[in-house]
C-alpha cells in the first residue's frame, strides 16, 4: 500500500465527512434546541437537491444564465428545504412541543409523503449538477496527484459552515437565545423571548442546511431516489457518535464515519457498513451521550 494510496483514501474519507457534516449539522441543531428528532431530515436533503435541480436545469441550458445557474440552484435548494422545514415546524411540530416520540412519528409520516410526492413530481431519473468551471475538473495535489477540485471545495465549505455556525451560536444575539433555549426553554419564554419564533427560525436554518447539503451532494455524485434513507441514517449515526447538539461533536462524528466508510470499503468491501455500526455500538457502550455530548440534565 503506497503512501499515495493511503493519502487518497484518507482524502476521500475527508471529503465524504465534509458532506456528512453539513447535513448532520442541521439535524443536530434542530435536536439541540427543540429535542425534535427530525426523521424527515433525509427528505429535506432530497427536497433541496430536486428543487435546486428543477431551477438549475433550464438555466444551465440557456446561454445567458449558464454561469450563475449553479449558485441560483443552491439558493433555490436551500430556500425550498427551509420552507418545507418551516411548514413542518409551524403546522405540525410546534404545538406538540415536548412530546418527542410523537414528533418523531409525525416526521416519519411526513418523510413518507415527501418521498412519494418527489417521485410523483420529478420522476425517478438520476441527475447531477455541474459545478462552475472554476470548481470543475481535476487539480494537482502533492503526492496524491490529480484530484477533483470540487471535492476539495467541499471540505472548505464544511469548514465555512462549521465556523459560521460556531460564530452564530457564540457571537450573536440569536445564538445566545438558542443556547439559553437548550438549557431552559421555560425560563427563556419567561424572559420575554418569543420561543416559537426562535424555534421556527432554527428549524428553517437546520432544514436549509440539509437542502444545501442536497445540492452539494448532487454536484459531487449523481443523485437518485433513496438517498433520503442514506442521509437520514448517516445523520443519525454521526450525531449519535459525536454527541447531540454539539458542533464539535458533529464534526468529530462526521470525520470518524466518513473515514471509516472509505477505509472500510478499501480494507473489507463487504463489511464496510458493519464497521460504521461497530463504531456506533462501541461509542454507545462507553459514552452513551456520544463522544462530545453533554449529559442530559
Amino acid at each position: 500500500m503506497s503512501l499515495q494510496f493511503i493519502l487518497t483514501v484518507t482524502l476521500n474519507g475527508l471529503t465524504l465527512a465534509s458532506l456528512y457534516f453539513i447535513v448532520a449539522c442541521g439535524f443536530s441543531l434542530i435536536f439541540g434546541l427543540m429535542r425534535t428528532v427530525n426523521m424527515a431530515h433525509g427528505s429535506l436533503y432530497m427536497v433541496g437537491a430536486y428543487v435546486g435541480f428543477a431551477v438549475y436545469d433550464p438555466l444551465y441550458a440557456s446561454s445567458a444564465w449558464a454561469s450563475q445557474a449553479w449558485l441560483i440552484g443552491i439558493v433555490a435548494g436551500i430556500g425550498a428545504a427551509a420552507l418545507v422545514g418551516l411548514i413542518m415546524q409551524v403546522a405540525f411540530l410546534g404545538w406538540m412541543q415536548g412530546q418527542e416520540l410523537r414528533q418523531a412519528l409525525v416526521t416519519i409520516g411526513l418523510s413518507i409523503i415527501i418521498a412519494d410526492q418527489i417521485l410523483a413530481t420529478f420522476g425517478g431519473n438520476p441527475f447531477r449538477f455541474f459545478a462552475p468551471d472554476m470548481l470543475f475538473g481535476p487539480v494537482e495535489v502533492p503526492i496524491i496527484g490529480r484530484y477533483p477540485v470540487f471535492r476539495l471545495f467541499q471540505v472548505i465549505l464544511a469548514i465555512a459552515v462549521g465556523v459560521g455556525l460556531w460564530l452564530l451560536l457564540n457571537k450573536t444575539k440569536l445564538g445566545i437565545i438558542v443556547r439559553a433555549g437548550v438549557d431552559d426553554r421555560q425560563m427563556l419564554a419567561a424572559c420575554g423571548i418569543n420561543v416559537p419564533l426562535v424555534a421556527a427560525t432554527v428549524f428553517a436554518l437546520g432544514a436549509g442546511l440539509a437542502g444545501f447539503g442536497g445540492v452539494i451532494g448532487a454536484t459531487a455524485q449523481p443523485m437518485s431516489l433513496g438517498v433520503d434513507v442514506r442521509f437520514l441514517l448517516m445523520s443519525l449515526v454521526v450525531v449519535i457518535v459525536g454527541g447531540m447538539g454539539s458542533i464539535g461533536g458533529t464534526a468529530l462524528g462526521a470525520l470518524l464515519i466518513g473515514l471509516a466508510e472509505q477505509w472500510g470499503q478499501v480494507l473489507f468491501p463487504t463489511y464496510s457498513v458493519i464497521l460504521t455500526f461497530v463504531i456506533m455500538a462501541t461509542v454507545l457502550a462507553v459514552w452513551p451521550q456520544g463522544l462530545l455530548g453533554r449529559k442530559p440534565t
Binding site: V37, L101, L105, V106, D116, L233, S272, V273, L284, P288
Partner: protein, 336 residues
C-alpha cells in the same frame, strides 16, 4: 395464569372462534392475502407493541430481528435457492431461527441498554437499516440484493405449507399463542417489574431490581415473538430479500402498531389488518403508485388526531356511549 375478567375471556374466546370459522366465510384471497398476512405481520407489530406499551421502549429493530429469523430459516431451509451450507429439516431450522432472533433481540437490548425514548428509537433505527444494508452487500451468506428464494415452508399433515387453509390456521394458532403469551407475561413478576421500569427506572432500581437485565430480557422476549413472525413472513413471501427488512418495512411495522394503537397488544393485529387492506385496495382508489402518500397521510392523521390509534379511538367511543362498567379501570390495571 392469565388474569382477565370473565367478560374478557368470553370476548377473547368469541374472537378466536370467529377467526377459526373465517375459512368458511371468505374466499382464499381474503384468507391468505388479507387475514393471513395481517396475522404474520401483526406478530412482528405485536413484539413492538409489547416493548412499547409495557416497557416504554419504542424499538424500530423488530423488523430487523424478524429478518434475522427469516434469513436464518432461509439459510437452513432444504428447498432454498441458493441452497445454504447447512441444509436442515424445517423441524430443526424453525426453532433455531427463532432462537437466533431471541439472541439478536438480546444483543439489540444490550447495545441500547443505556438509552431511552428518542435515543432508543434512533439507535434501533440505525441498527435496522444497517442490517438491511449489510444483507444487501453480503453475497456469501445473504446472497446480496436478490436474497434467498423458494423457502416454501414445511409440510403439515402431508399438505404443503402454502395451501391456504394450512397457512391461515398455522398463522392463526401461532398468533393467538403469542398474544396470550404477552398477556400472561405482563402479569408475572417479570412483567410487573418491566412496567415499573417504564414508569420510573430509578425507583425500580432503588427497590433493588436489576433494570438493565430486565430490559435485555424484555428485548430477548420481543425477539422471540418477532422471530416467529419473521419465519412465517418468509414462508408467506416464499423467500426473503434485503428490501423486505429495509427502512420501509421497518416503518411499515411501526405504522401498523401505531395505527392499531400501542395501548394494547390487540392493536398490533388491528393495525396490521388495516395496513393489509389499504395496501391491497389502495390501488383501486388512487392507483398503486401513490400508495405511500395515502398510507403516510393516514398515519399522519392517526398520530395527529388519536395518538393511541384505532384501539384508543374505540375505547373513547365506548366510554362516550357509556357502555364501560364503572369498576373497569380497577380491573384492567394497564391504563397508561
Amino acid at each position: 395464569m392469565i388474569v382477565m375478567s370473565t367478560r374478557r375471556w368470553v370476548l377473547t374466546g368469541i374472537g378466536i372462534a370467529f377467526l377459526m370459522t373465517l375459512p368458511l366465510l371468505l374466499p382464499n384471497f381474503w384468507l391468505v392475502n388479507i387475514f393471513g398476512r395481517a396475522l404474520v405481520y401483526g406478530i412482528v407489530a405485536l413484539s413492538l407493541t409489547f416493548l412499547a406499551h409495557y416497557g416504554g421502549f419504542v424499538s424500530l429493530a423488530q423488523t430487523m430481528i424478524a429478518g434475522v429469523a427469516g434469513y436464518s430459516v432461509a439459510m437452513m431451509a432444504p428447498t432454498a435457492i441458493p441452497l445454504g451450507d447447512v441444509a436442515l429439516p424445517y423441524a430443526l431450522a424453525i426453532p433455531l431461527a427463532v432462537l437466533a432472533a431471541s439472541f439478536a433481540g438480546a444483543v439489540v437490548g444490550l447495545i441500547a441498554v443505556n438509552t431511552r425514548e428518542i435515543y432508543l428509537l434512533m439507535i434501533t433505527l440505525a441498527l435496522a437499516v444497517g442490517f438491511s444494508l449489510f444483507a444487501q452487500s453480503n453475497i456469501t451468506w445473504f446472497n446480496g440484493y436478490e436474497g434467498i428464494r423458494n423457502v416454501v415452508g414445511p409440510e403439515i399433515f402431508g399438505r404443503p405449507f402454502r395451501t391456504p387453509l394450512v397457512f391461515y390456521y398455522t398463522a392463526l394458532i401461532v398468533a393467538v399463542l403469542l398474544y396470550l403469551l404477552v398477556l400472561y407475561v405482563v402479569r408475572t413478576p417479570f412483567g410487573l417489574v418491566l412496567q415499573a421500569i417504564r414508569d420510573s427506572d430509578r425507583r425500580t432500581a432503588a427497590i433493588g431490581f436489576h433494570v438493565g437485565l430486565h430490559r435485555v430480557a424484555s428485548f430477548a422476549l420481543a425477539g422471540f415473538i418477532a422471530g416467529w413472525g419473521g419465519v412465517l413472513i418468509t414462508f408467506y413471501n416464499i423467500g426473503i430479500t434485503p428490501s423486505s427488512i429495509g427502512l420501509w418495512a421497518t416503518v411499515g411495522v411501526l405504522i401498523m402498531a401505531v395505527i392499531g394503537g400501542l395501548g394494547h397488544p390487540l392493536g398490533a393485529f388491528i393495525g396490521a389488518l388495516i395496513f393489509a387492506m389499504m395496501d391491497t385496495f389502495a390501488s383501486s382508489i388512487i392507483g398503486h403508485d401513490r400508495f405511500n402518500t395515502l398510507i403516510g397521510l393516514v398515519f399522519l392523521a392517526i398520530v395527529l388526531l388519536s395518538p393511541d390509534g384505532v384501539w384508543g379511538m374505540g375505547g373513547r367511543l365506548v366510554a362516550a356511549l357509556g357502555w364501560r362498567r364503572r369498576n373497569k379501570t380497577a380491573v384492567s390495571g394497564d391504563t397508561r
